[in-house]
Symmetry: C2
Subunit: 132 residues, 2 copies
């Protein structure tokens, strides 16, 4: 049932636009947080660290919803429903540096915490909606 990303979604992801990731917390309430975002073909990539709410929530319940808004036009946006199909630590350190470069211009991610283990959430889209 996996769906393709639309050209508009790819354009918003490849721009320096922030996304918002919604997940379900263990008490059943929704959680939402701003995130950096990337893609690998039709798979969305979000980089977090082991033990963070996003990582824990999607381990228990892989369903997510993502909203991406064009920073230069808040009425151009895309919403993606999907599921985390894999969490991968391999390449996650290099990947957060790549995202830091994209979003901040730094060659290295500046907010690494002692002992943190980065992890990439690989998200397969189930529905991609462009908002009017």
């Amino acid at each position: 049932l996996t769906t393709k990303l639309t050209l508009e979604a790819v354009k918003l992801i490849e721009g320096k636009n922030f996304a918002h990731l919604a997940t379900i917390s263990s008490d059943g309430s929704p959680h939402v947080a701003p995130v950096w975002i990337d893609h690998d073909g039709d798979v969305i990539l979000i980089n977090t660290a082991m033990g963070r709410i996003k990582q824990k929530n999607t381990t228990k319940n892989p369903r997510v919803s993502i909203s991406i808004v064009d920073q230069n036009n808040p009425y151009a946006r895309v919403t993606i429903k999907g599921k985390v199909t894999q969490q991968t630590k391999q390449g996650a350190d290099a990947h957060i540096d790549k995202l830091a470069k994209k979003y901040t211009g730094s060659d290295k991610y500046q907010n690494r915490q002692p002992g943190e283990q980065r992890v990439i959430l690989r998200i397969e889209p189930l529905r991609v909606l462009s908002s009017p």
Copy 2:
């Protein structure tokens, strides 16, 4: 258990910043959408229309999570967990005009759909978190 809004939250709400509202859909998956936002003291106000996903979802499950990011500094932000304690149609038409004025400069909301009934979701905060 209701919590007060922080000064930082109020400042972000009163600025022209967009918020993201996460709710739980009837199939248990999360839903997230960009929204205009307002407050009445410590109560957060989001204006939607009857029958929209946000309105239907919070009728079934009142738990929400809201993220507000400063449009001029994406690293200044606030996350609020809360619940919809009331949905009120009274004053909702005037209120969407007030929000249109704040966000677009128009005296009237320009996107009214034929037959739509506006409704204000009144949200009581349970937790207010300022992000580093």
